[in-house]
């Protein structure tokens, strides 16, 4: 394996995707280095979720290639690929008929881990996401608050220690206070686990809060990608409208953290 292959976890090469006759992505090209947290921002319908689905082969491109660990998603076994990419979504999607422990253990179970190894891993993950294992293991999803559910969602996505984590509007359904808390939690967890994270959001503040790089999507292509500070200073007419709500909220936008 070459040096660059190790460095680039995910690459989009000239990808076209259309939904019916409507193009969603057109000539989309992007390289995501291993270990970075890329936050993709765009309006609804900008193709954010499509990008995630291309990575874990919930979708295949109409033309072009998506490479995960240098291998085209067409050549991956879809089940193997998905078990190596954690997936966190806004609705969380915890299985209501399973306990918290069983939910987190889903992928390890699919991979055929031994029961003792699964139990140890579940406990470790509950600790990681800040939930007390003794209290929460046996609970059902409907006995948890929204923030607790999303912590479990993150733990479930990380269960089999996948190198890649995909997050689709993960904290969008939470109230602002909880969301802020989850942002801090995410940064703490990411410092510990160092995954390649691709996160999509319509909220520029969230993108700045979480991303080591921020990409702005418009009309099926990347309008801009760069460090949060560079994006914040952009005068690109496709980027400015996404920044405006931030400036209104804070009066003067004072750069990034």
């Amino acid at each position: 394996m070459s040096e660059s292959a190790q460095a680039t976890a995910i690459a989009f090469e000239n990808v076209d995707v259309a939904r019916g006759s409507v193009p969603v992505l057109h000539g989309f090209t992007l390289a995501i280095p291993a270990g970075e947290t890329l936050a993709l921002v765009g309006r609804s319908g900008a193709g954010k979720s499509t990008i995630l689905k291309l990575i874990n082969r919930l979708l295949l491109p109409d033309s072009g290639d998506v490479l995960v660990e240098s291998r085209s998603t067409r050549d991956w076994s879809r089940f193997e690929l998905r078990r190596r990419t954690g997936y966190v979504m806004q609705e969380v999607g915890l299985f209501p008929h399973m306990s918290i422990e069983e939910n987190i253990a889903t992928v390890p179970r699919l991979l055929g881990w031994e029961a003792s190894r699964i139990a140890a891993r579940v406990k470790e993950l509950l600790d990681l996401v800040g939930l007390d294992a003794a209290t929460f293991s046996e609970r059902r999803p409907d006995q948890l608050s929204g923030g607790q559910r999303q912590r479990v969602g993150v733990a479930r996505a990380l269960a089999a220690d996948p190198p890649i984590l995909l997050m689709d509007e993960p904290f969008g359904a939470l109230d602002p206070v909880t969301r802020g808390e989850m942002h801090r939690e995410f940064r703490r967890i990411q410092r510990l686990v160092r995954k390649t994270v691709v996160l999509v959001t319509h909220d520029m503040a969230e993108a700045f809060a979480l991303g080591t790089r921020v990409g702005v999507l418009a009309d099926g292509a990347l309008a801009m990608i760069g460090e949060p500070a560079a994006v914040a200073r952009s005068s690109d007419p496709r980027v400015r409208p996404l920044l405006e709500p931030l400036m209104e909220a804070t009066g003067v936008f004072a750069g990034t953290r």
Binding site: N56, L58, R78, F79, E80, L81, R82, R83, Y87, M89, E91, G93, L94, F95, P96, H97, M98, S99, E102, T106, V107, L110, E138, R140, R156
Partner: protein, 513 residues
């Protein structure tokens, strides 16, 4: 006879009928689950393939159960008398609710959960096992509950084809016009339905509340109960098979036939060393005839005129001797032997209320024809259809009624005319209820009805293999008079005595010929 007394005196019979009922419902529901759930999954996944199957199950559901038994009886493999055809019919009825709720349960699952499972790398079968089926399970159990409750009800009808079960009491009670006997079958059947409904409702609730582990346990309990029941059925079927030296005696579904069936059965039991299996109270003439030809029964009592017109579709003939020779020949061609007549004739009795006959001075059917236009008539299903039944009778006497005759169950006819719900009915000349209800029988003065001499019809190979059976049964020839038959019918119908006792007493008085 009170209900409790009836159950006490029939305890072992009750236990076995109740057991049969549970087995019929259990076995059919189990098979319907094994077939219905996969069909339901298919229908949810591939609506284009599934829709026709669901449509078919829908159509099946609309067929009245008795008609369904009628369709299936002559078919190979699933047809014939007994538990097999009953279970098959019950399966067909149980399929629809199970397919429906499986499909509905799968379709109602939040797509987010399916997407989550897929994104985690579940294969379609893992998704089904881990996510979709567990989430659809409460809905599927609801379908099983509906199917089982319907099954308990439908299984009572299965007694008409000799499958046993609690319906035996209901049919027996209907033909004896004895509400106690009807209730002896109907109450436990209703209780069984309620118990199943309650138990499965609990399972359903536990599944909705519980997590995967608990749901799994509940499912395991239900599944093992089902398997136990299936094992029981297999055991019972196997046990039934044992012992080839069995003579199966059948009868139609009215009192006289049941008493005659008992007389035939008890005669074989007391005069030979063979075991007798009673398949009494089967449906009408057609079911008995098919059962005899297919070997599901070995003997039953038929009436010459009925055989001539209803079975062999011959012309209506009023010469008793010619008719008997004709049916003997026709039966022989089918490998069946008619023994000499038992001695009495059970012709159709055209009945009106006694006080009506006295007031109007009615003695014959010709007398009655003048008054018929202001009357309502009630006839059994067979009488309405048969060549020697209502159409010819109406032609012969120029009978017209206020409205087309009402089709009624034979067992209800006597009471219906006695209570004035109808004015004119066709009953049996030998019925004990004619005297009990004070009805008047009108004379067939134009000799429309053919002779109806009662005679035992048996499978020729059985009589050849067991000449002692032939000897025993032939001894009954000419021994049962019309008066004997009316008395025995009355003992059962009016005095609510047990047909087996009545038969035993009769055989004792004639000194076991």
């Amino acid at each position: 006879m009170t209900l409790l007394h009836f159950w006490r005196t029939h305890a072992s019979e009750f236990a076995s009928l109740f057991g049969q009922h549970v087995l019929l419902v259990g076995a059919s529901t189990l098979v319907a689950i094994l077939a219905g759930v996969p069909i339901g999954i298919l229908a949810a996944r591939r609506p284009r393939v599934g829709a026709p199957i669901v449509w078919l199950a829908n159509v099946v559901q609309t067929i009245p159960s008795l008609a369904m038994f009628g369709f299936l009886l002559p078919l190979p493999l699933v047809g014939g008398l007994g538990a097999r055809v009953a279970i098959f019919v019950l399966i067909l009825y149980a399929l629809l609710p199970i397919i429906r709720t499986t499909t509905a349960g799968l379709r109602s699952i939040d797509h987010v959960l399916v997407e989550a499972g897929t994104a985690m790398g579940m294969t379609p079968s893992q998704l089904l096992r881990e996510v979709e089926l567990p989430l659809a399970l409460p809905s599927i159990v609801a379908g099983i509950r509906v199917a089982a409750v319907i099954g308990v009800g439908t299984a009572t009808i299965a007694a008409a084809v000799g499958a046993g079960g609690l319906g035996e009491y209901i049919f027996r009670g209907l033909s004896m016009v004895d509400p106690t006997v009807i209730l002896a079958g109907a109450i436990p059947s209703a209780a069984l339905a309620l118990a199943i409904d309650g138990a499965l409702t609990l399972v359903e609730r536990a599944l909705k509340r519980g997590t995967r582990a608990r749901g799994g346990r509940a499912t395991a309990i239900v599944a093992s109960a089902m398997i136990l029941i299936a094992a029981g059925v297999a055991g019972a079927a196997y046990a039934r098979r044992g012992g080839a030296e069995v003579i199966r005696v059948g009868s139609k579904n009215f009192t006289e036939q049941i008493v005659l069936g008992e007389i035939v059965a008890q005669t074989i039991e007391s005069r030979t060393s063979l075991r007798v299996e009673r398949r009494l109270n089967l449906g009408g003439t057609f079911i008995c005839d098919r059962a005899l030809r297919s070997g599901d029964i070995d003997a039953y009592v038929e009436y010459s005129g009925t055989a001539q017109t209803a079975i062999f579709h011959g012309p209506v003939d009023t010469d008793a001797r010619r008719v008997f020779e004709e049916i003997t020949r026709r039966y022989a061609e089918a490998g069946l032997t008619v023994l000499d007549p038992l001695g009495f004739e059970n012709t159709f009795a055209m009945l009106v209320r006694g006080d009506v006959a006295t007031t109007l001075g009615l003695r014959t059917l010709s007398d009655a024809a003048a008054h018929a236009p202001s009357w309502r008539a009630g006839f059994g299903y067979e009488f309405l259809q048969r060549a020697d039944g209502y159409p010819g009778l109406a032609r012969t006497y120029g009978l017209r009624f206020v409205a087309p005759p009402t089709a009624m169950d034979l067992s209800l006819i006597y009471r219906a005319v006695a209570q004035g719900q109808v004015d004119f009915v066709a009953g049996d000349a030998t019925s004990g209820l004619i005297d009990a209800y004070g009805l008047a029988m009108l004379e067939d003065d134009r000799h429309y009805f053919p002779p109806y001499d009662a005679a035992i019809v048996a499978r020729a190979p059985v009589l050849l293999a067991h000449p002692e059976v032939r000897t025993a049964l032939s001894a009954l020839s000419g021994r049962i008079t019309l008066a004997d038959m009316r008395r025995m019918n009355r003992a059962v119908d009016a005095d609510h005595r047990d047909p087996a006792d009545v038969a035993r007493q009769f055989l004792a008085t004639v000194g076991h010929p």
